[in-house]
Structures are given as structure tokens and as C-alpha cells.
Symmetry: C2
Subunit: 404 residues, 2 copies
Amino acid sequence: LLGFGTVGSSVAEILCSNHFPNLQLVCIFNRNVARKRQLWVPAGVRWTEDIHEVIASDADIVVEVLGGLEPTADWIELMLRAGKSVVTANKHLIATRGRELAKLAQAEGRRLEYGASVAGGVPVLNAVSAGLAGEALLRLQGVLNGTCNYILSNMDASGMPFDKALARAQELGFAEADPSDDIHGIDARCKLAILAHTGFGLHVEPEQIEARSIVGIAAEDFQQARKRGRTIRQVSMAERTAGGLRAVVQPAMVRANSSVGQVRDNQNVLVTTGHWGGETTFAGRGAGGGPTAVAVVSDLLAIARHQALGGARADSAAEVQCDFHFHHYLRAEVADAKDSALLEVTLREAGLDIQESKTSRKRKKGKSATTRVLLLGPSTTAKVEEALSAWGSQCPRCVLPLID
Amino acid sequence: LLGFGTVGSSVAEILCSNHFPNLQLVCIFNRNVARKRQLWVPAGVRWTEDIHEVIASDADIVVEVLGGLEPTADWIELMLRAGKSVVTANKHLIATRGRELAKLAQAEGRRLEYGASVAGGVPVLNAVSAGLAGEALLRLQGVLNGTCNYILSNMDASGMPFDKALARAQELGFAEADPSDDIHGIDARCKLAILAHTGFGLHVEPEQIEARSIVGIAAEDFQQARKRGRTIRQVSMAERTAGGLRAVVQPAMVRANSSVGQVRDNQNVLVTTGHWGGETTFAGRGAGGGPTAVAVVSDLLAIARHQALGGARADSAAEVQCDFHFHHYLRAEVADAKDSALLEVTLREAGLDIQESKTSRKRKKGKSATTRVLLLGPSTTAKVEEALSAWGSQCPRCVLPLID
């Protein structure tokens, strides 16, 4: 077991619980073992700070819950070359180095499993690779980042501003000190890349998927969403195209009564759409020690039973497009009447169709602030963003596609 | 392929779609082949009305979507003895004969898979046996019968009476001409028995599980449910006990905003509760040709890939209790004031705690009808039913546990 943090100690707890007698914990690797050592771990388990002791151990399978890319990727390579199978919960590693590591595992006759890397305790990778193996998947859509969902569903429920919701998520351990990877969609697009590979058999680099930040969403955007029977979520979506894949991670206005709109707190959800079976929904705890550990142990059992999991579909490099067409909600503060008129002209010149328009004035910090709320006809989000750049104003704005 | 009805023809369609080149349809068995034959089935596929032709064929795997217990069970036995693996969607057969057939399959070195037997297109058996293999499951709760859910969710949405909702379900093909197995919970308890075996490793006979009918639920019960923020669903639930299992299938008042309360039309949902990972929800199309066929083909692929599926947990015969304790909603029509007083006395004598009570009078078909609506403190449903028997009135009544 590489790593004895939140997930690692939960994995150890399950392995030491006697629920799975055919799995035996033999060695725990972590920095500062003296501080980490727990009395409930059986005396026979070796604790070490030296990765070479793990390589030299008689463990058949190595569980990697250290996180990070370096030196983790090198260590996994060493483990595979030493004849050990590997189970990892590391989405960044699998999304960026998974292909080569999977090839190495195959060449060595070993297994590399990563069921815990997407949606933690919700077995979506297993569902997509085995349970829905007989399906021609058309579309994957969901909420894959618990931090963003915690922030957004709390803004929704309490009306609190973004900064406060983020601070609260950090206090409660739902957001890290540096939340950039979560709030800018980097974490979710790694997961979407892994899902797309498992579900469509297409190799996708995370960087091929557009990711938009949830920064800039204000309490009033939730009020606007509510007027439309909607709420705001960070949505990850990928769909099969003739040439490959269309995929994006972005905040969006979704129907309040949809599966995605109903996900609360740090939960995850995935909705798959198949050609023959239609929509299937998977929801639950996407992160945390317990749920992630369950996914890790399920992978361990699959290897112990010689149960094939991944690699279900053929693997080819994908052309990835990100040009989904949606209606857009646009909120923009404008400096004055001229600025406001210029916004409208710029949007129209970009070929965008203004279907609704409201202007409201409020006093904010002693100054009069004018806010435009517009509903734009179908276009890509990038097109709206380009028009806003051309407009040139530095005032706050928020662009959200309306996703059904 | 045994059976070319709704599911069988969908399975054939997927197998003939070139999506899965390692699966080849070789033979279709059905009565009255002349009438069934389809032009889109490749010429090389043999059509037959003789089961012995299937046994003698070179098929490696037989898909059984005929339904029924006899002669289907005998035929499956013949197939296994002839060295063929079997995939079936037949929940009655698996729930009642699954154990012996699984042993036979093992003895013959063949496979018996039945992923389509519970919740059709929603891969719940796969999730419970593989995706959540590393979990200590405590509880399974869900809506497993699409017919009941179609009837109840339509009564809910439109206010129509039971008979009309049933007739409409029959018109649309969501209920059979004889809907007894569905509406009395017989179908759902077969599925719950299979789920309990897969999830808890306990062998359960369907008859060990109490099943209560949805007959007797009236439009006004939905109004009463709505007042409490609830709706009515046929709920299947099973939980681990120290000695074995507690399981029941019954209509219940559930929270309108819960996963179970939000299932519409003929959809299915399963909520698993695990010791380490908490709640996970699976929802989608539980029946119909396409979704069921996807589950069948997923099983075919698992066999083709030598992928172990079932048998994950140890198998032992279970003690099954059915004595869940819940608050109960009771609606009873009473003949007169004496009858009403007698009801109250009888309930109190049975030790039942009357927590709320309302009496309303209406004219029904020219006669004055008095209805009592009571909320009873925690007890088993059986205890409430016994008290109603002791009361002796033949007037219509409806008892529903309130499930969270």
C-alpha cells in the first residue's frame, strides 16, 4: 500500500477487517512512518519509507494512493517491471500516462486497474466497461468533481457568494488549499478523458478537452437560473461523433429536476445514453476515504479473481471537438448606456441571436451598477466568449450554456 | 437464441449490427418460425422450431429469453450438459432454480449468467458483484417492477384511479393481460431474492420474502401522501441482520424527493447502502427489448472474454425475516360511529400508537361515507394488518408504511 492518507488508511482498514480473507496487507509505504503508524494495523504488516523495500517485498499487487505524477509514475513502472499488478486511484496519472502504463502492464503479463480514479465509490468505470459492454454508448454526461458541486450546490441552497462557499468547502476538507485543479475543471477533464476511453474506446489527452472555470458565477446567477426552473452545475460531457468525440467540462445551467441538477454537496453523478438501452444514471459519493477505498478493494478483488475489467473496447486516438451548440445565459455588468449598446452591437455582429434581454440598475458599494441579463440563441460557448473579448469591457460577466 | 419476442429480436438486432464482431448469431429457436422470420437476419442464421437442433448446433452460448419455468429449466439443463454456456433474462427461473443450475454449470465447466434478470438495462447485478465487490453491503432498496411503477407514478401525476391506470398500462404494453405477478409483488420479490444472493451471498427462496399487493391504493392516498411531502411506490428492500436477512416487497409512502420517490413511468432504481461507501444509486430502464438486450449482450461479452461475474460472495442459505418497523399510514372507511370507535379500540388493544387522526365525511354514490385517516407509531405492517382483521370490518382500507 503506497500512501497512508485519507484513502490509504481506509483501504488498510477494509483489508484488516477480515471481510476479504483472500486479500492480505503486507506492507505500507509512507513518509514519516513513525508519525503514521496505527495500532489497529496487524503487527505482521511492514511499515517502510523506502520504495525499494516495497519493490523487493512479496506483494502480488501494489495499491497506489499517493497521488501526483512524479515520482509516482516511475514507481508504478518499477512495480510493473518487478512483476506486481497495480491498482491506482490517481486520475491525473491515468489520464496522462495511463496508455503507456497499460501497455507495460500487458507486456509484463500484469494488471493495471483504476476503478477508483473516476467517481470514487460510484462504480462508473466498471458499469461502462462491463455492465454496459453490450451497449453502443452515444453520450456521457455528469458531475465528476465533488469540490465544484459542493461549492455550487451550497451557493444554490444558501445564496452565499462564491468566495464564502469556497472557504467553507476548504474548512470542511471538501476543497484543497489550492483549489485550482478543481474549480478550473482540470480534475474533471482528466476523469472525462478516462471515461471516454473506457466508454468509447477512444484515447483522449485531457488537454484536448476544453475546461471552463466556475469562477465568476455569482449568487444572482442562481436567482436567474431559478426563474428558469434551473440551477448551475459543473457539467462534464462527451459524445460520439462521426469523426471521434465532442467533449467539454464547464459550468452550465441545467434543469433543476434533472439527475445532474439534483446532485447535492460533494456527490457525483453520471448519466450514460446508449443507442439501445437509453439513459442510465449512476450516483453517489465520488470522493472521500471510504468510497474511494471500496473502489480500490473492488479492483483488488477483480485482480485476485483474474477478472478482466478494462480494455473492453478498441483503443484508437480520438479527434476531439469541443463545439457543443447551446442557448446561452449571459450576465454582464455595463459601465454606461454606451457600453451597453456596444455590447449588443458586438453580440449581433458576431452573429449571436439575442432572444431575451433585461437591464437592471442597483447601487453597489455606493456606485450605481447596471447589469444586463441576456438569453442568446444556439451557438458555441467559445463564440460568446470571443464576442465578449471583442466588446472589450473589463466588467464582470458570466456566460453559462443552458444544457437539457 | 431461444425466443424471438421483444427481447429476443432486440438481442438479434444487436448481434447483427456488427458492433461486436466476436459474437456471431448462429441459430434462432421459436415457435412458428415462418411467421417470425425477419429479412434483416443474415441468411446464414438457422431458424428452427426444434430445441434438439439448438442442442446439436455448434453454438458456444445459448441465450434464453423464452420466459417461464417449464420446459425452460429443463432446456437450460440440457444446454449446460451439452457443453454450452447459458445467458438468461428469466428472473423466475433464476430465483427458484438458479442455485442448482449454477452448480450444474460449474460442474460442466460452463457459465450461467443472468445480468438481465434484474432491472434490465441498469447493470445492478454487475455493480453489486463487481463494482461494489469491495463493499460490505448493509442494505438494498429500490423500485424493481416497472409495471407497478408505471401504474403508481401515473396515479400520482394524473389523479386517475387504480383500475384506469392499470388499463392504460395494459394498452401501452407496460402491463400484461394477467398482471397478478407484477401488482402483487411476486415479480419484484424474485428480483430481490437474486439481488440479495448477489449482494449478500445469501441464498433466499422468493417465498421467504413477504410480498404485499398495490391493489387497494386509491387516488386519495396520493393526496394524503402529498400533504406529507411523500408519494407512493412499490418498494423492495433487503437488509443484512445478525442472523441473515430482513426483506419485503410492498407499496409504501416514500419521500417525494428521494431517489425512490422520483422514479417515473416504468423506470427502475436501486439504492445500495454500504458500510464504507454509503449510498450509491443506479437508475434507468428496467425493462423493454433494448435495455434488456443490452444486459444480455453484456453477459455474452463477459463469457466471450472469460470474465468472471457472479459468485462473488460466499453462498449460504438465509434466515429471512420480514418484520421491518415503520410508522404507518392507515386509511379506512367506516360504516358508522360505532364501527369507527371499534377501529380505534382494536388498534390500541393491539398496542398500536395512534399519533394522528382525521375523520372526513363524503357522499359516495348517494350514500354518506366516513373515512378515517390515521398515522400509527412504529410497528410491523403485519401487526397493523392483524389488528384490521380483528376489527372485522369489510370496508375498503389501505395500509402503507412510511419509508425514509
